[in-house]
Symmetry: D2
């Protein structure tokens, strides 16, 4: 039970990297929501492979609506979408059953699923499953937009550098047959105060739950995050104040727009740490489960040198999904 | 809907800081589990106030079992526990309805609950609600212990310092009427490979969901965490190897014992960032919602100078709860 | 995972017949709902034992609010209630571990819980667990009442007779050391059209789910129910018409106020069949699991001759809970 | 949130009668389950239209597996299936927005979905949505079969008659432009004692929840059902006894194989009442929502004269789904 999320909106994702199709079923959307499919396509294109500095795998990523839409508007029945997998090459992956790739799920998945897991392309552990998440996110963004909520993420660091150095750093890693990690920052504006819940359904709880479902995420922090741990209360505490229009604000935003699991009306800010792409061209140590001996693994094919690059819209999608679930 | 967690084990927490009682209902425990109540009490005592360097509030924190236990063993019916609130002083908090405390939930809670929220002692946003979580965690730890799983957390940093400096740093903050943040590291051993799920029910997803329900948590990272974002794949990737007994391991543990949302058999490691205690003795800027003017707030009473100290068993409880839910 | 219900309202019930206490946690109630505790008590008194023609067990059934209520109003935090078990006599029931009572859960419960189930008083299979359900129902009825929704059930048949004969029939059964079954009819008025859902969350799906959780329920039918199966479409179909005030109605109500899982605006009507009380004074055949031989069982103590009598408010509580979950 | 069911197995159904496709996502199946697709097809053919005495609508009903299956075996990732809608004629249904059909969901659906519901073919209220349920049921039946569990339903009554008269009764109704209701009886064998739960997750609770999701169901009863309400305890109580092999049985099965929400090891028996097909050729009274006047509606097209006929495998599917959820 792994690809279901949400209480008011309910998202179910299906598919493996090389199955006939991947897709999503979204239940709970209000009837009458007009979908701007061009905007959905544009959003999904940001995640799609084949961009500069990303994998060369060609997938149209074209979502096919199976149900839930009548004359371009949601009809109250679940919105189901399918994205066909056209560029599957299952033959490349069989070897990883016996020689698991470092930092991939090959080994634990084979234990959990007793060897029946779909190893091809990473199966349902593949980053490709973020395509239907992006579809759902794009729909949620359109709903949130009507409520004045905006979600904006960007790559703030890669391989330890920021700003203009990011591109160079990624390019250098690629040329070395290596990869780099990165950090995606995200800011959500327009959420009124009082959205969220305390306890296990706090805004942070559900945002982190969905963010950690994105392959490669190793850390999530809100507001001042880990830096807060090194601060004094007198430094960290954000004083309440009135805005010019009389609304309640804080002078600073160390709290990242959330207190007690509830939105405060300030921008919701968080940062997501992505690990370096595990598939690198450099030879790596691994083991041969058949022979019981150590071996050296050489991964061929082209891979994103920095998965955080294409993860930017995925982070936005995750955030939009969670906010939508609270605000519906 | 805020204090429910779990699929196989189902925990419901109730109560406010100054309600008649707080407590928990735990459904899904296997029948016949013998509870070591002395161990439960000892675990809860680690979280209880009145310890050196924590608040002076006296609560017996004595759990009273209401149902689910027959002759010291679980009977298959929900295990319900109540902890009476004996030291409540409701009168101190009314002022915070109009003058919200910085970095507390007073303001967003009053918006969400239209002023009907229980402001006294922080209501159900209070850290006191972690007592029933610790009860549940103590029970889960006993179950996990039978499976060879151990959960161990400790305070690794406070106010930016580590080691012996931690005590001094906290003491200095207390003397200044200030507070400091801190970091709790946690390590779970004995989890076999293949526990967890991909997608929204990944180990990281559910661990972070419960961890962010602990008041004051601002960040969660697994394995190398945010540092991974600055690393190259060739540095970060943990090579697979065979242990002396032939079992599968990794040479390093940057992945923190989880890949693809599943345990790898290596220790599961994560770090949790806590903000500085928001209640400090120093005067703070705030607003008066009645007059519409800014004001200065002086919080009296004694408060933990570093909430991360007492949060150590709470982190263990959260981790045990999540692991128990997967392993039942 | 057995005593949880609801999506918008979330009810958790705990306790066994003879545990220290039984109770409920109700999450999701809107903040600011003023509880009329006298009305709650009056509602629960209808279910309480000790009435004419019911068991003589004396329980005050007095609910103690543990949390969630401030100055008589809900505060947004879960409403937790405890009812102490004061009249427990655990010694009577041990024999049923080896000689299971006919038509009771003694045997399957002992299989499921490996003998660790609380056999005393029926454990958590006891009808006593309907007391916290009635508490929750009483609260929901107060919420629904504000929306103009009324829930009214009554005993329409017992032992195959109706009207004035019911009392005589029950009395005769009691004098014979026997028991009788009964039918409770229920009518919910004031629900506007369009409440409910299609599919697995249809009004009938959730109403029946909760109704079948009441001990002794063997059948649930809506509108014409089983009689509809013997009818022609031309007889059964309810024609749409306009009411005098222009609102949409049907001329007849064979559909019982629900079509496609949604309310139509007509009264929601259903009938619930209760089996005869399984505990009767007459000697009964059973088996001795220790000796492997058949035996004769004599159940002592006093038992309701017709459980349907006290089930009337329980049916109302179940209906109110479900409607409340949809209308919140 | 209407088409999701299950805790261990999780079924999501999507689609409308005339959407591009209908389908299902089934999460939680064990990896390595080999699907006999011929058996799945044969099962689904029993529900398919075009049989003698059913609608003439032609749908291949051919399920297309989108994901979750590798080399004919489940791989642990959700099993997604799509059935294309090839015979859609959307033009026939627009009139029902203003003139709602008696006993259909047209009117309440239009209220709930503010007119945005897909009226064509009944939208997602259509009986066609039982096709993906049958797919899921067919898969569950294969899983249960490995555990020795068999599910068998049949039409026991139609229009008030049973046995050989059923065919004649249905034929007569069809010739009259009318329809009849019916009763489907179901028996599940091979379930060991102790499966199920007490309370809201009792076997009866979840079976009825799913059964009432089938369009046209008006009543569900277990064992002696409504007849139990007219019986005495001494008649109704099933004495425990030992079978020849020493296993525990009951001499009679008025309890229908379930006590306290748990299976007893006896056959689980229940009956489901279906209303007469609401769409009949005879002219019917209705209203015109545009003019505010009463009108006469004439429904054209061919419709099943007795929906209970094709519902037989749907009842089996529903039962198998629920049992599978408990036994996984």
């Amino acid at each position: 039970m792994s690809f279901d999320f949400g209480k008011n909106i309910h998202l179910t994702i299906f598919g493996q990297s090389h199955s006939k199709a991947i897709g999503a079923v979204i239940d709970g959307l209000p009837a009458g929501l007009e979908l701007d499919m061009a905007a959905v396509d544009a959003f999904m294109a940001r995640r799609a492979p084949g961009q500069k500095g990303t994998t060369a795998r060609k997938e149209s990523d074209q979502p096919v609506i199976l149900s839930g839409l009548v004359d371009g508007k949601t009809c109250g029945s679940p919105l189901a979408v399918m994205i066909e997998n056209s560029d599957a090459r299952p033959c490349d992956y069989e070897q990883f059953r016996t020689v698991p790739r470092p930092m991939h799920a090959d080994y634990p998945a084979s234990v959990k699923y007793k060897g029946y897991n779909d190893i091809s392309g990473g199966g349902h552990f593949s980053g490709r499953l973020t395509a239907p998440l992006c579809f759902a996110g794009a729909v949620c963004i359109q709903y949130l937009s009507q409520k004045g909520v905006k979600v904006k993420a960007c790559l703030t660091e890669a391989g330890g550098v920021s700003g203009n150095s990011i591109k160079e750093c990624i390019k250098a890693a690629q040329e070395d047959g290596d990869s780099v990690g990165g950090i995606v920052g995200c800011c959500i504006t327009g959420v009124p105060a009082g959205v969220g819940d305390s306890g296990f359904d706090s805004l942070e709880s559900n945002l982190s739950k969905v963010l950690f479902a994105i392959p490669g995420v190793k850390g999530v922090e809100f507001g001042a995050g880990f830096e807060a741990a090194a601060m004094k209360g007198s430094q960290h505490n954000d004083p309440w104040c009135f805005d010019q229009d009389g609304s309640v604000k804080t002078k600073t935003n160390n709290h990242g727009g959330i207190l007690g699991g509830l939105s405060t009306g300030m921008p919701i800010t968080f940062r997501v740490a992505f690990k370096p792409t595990p598939s690198i061209a450099l030879p790596q140590e691994s083991i041969d489960l058949a022979s019981g001996k150590s071996t050296v693994l050489k991964i061929t094919g082209r891979h994103d040198p920095c998965i955080a690059v294409r993860a930017v819209p995925v982070v936005e999608a995750a955030a939009a999904l969670v906010l939508c679930d609270y605000m519906l």
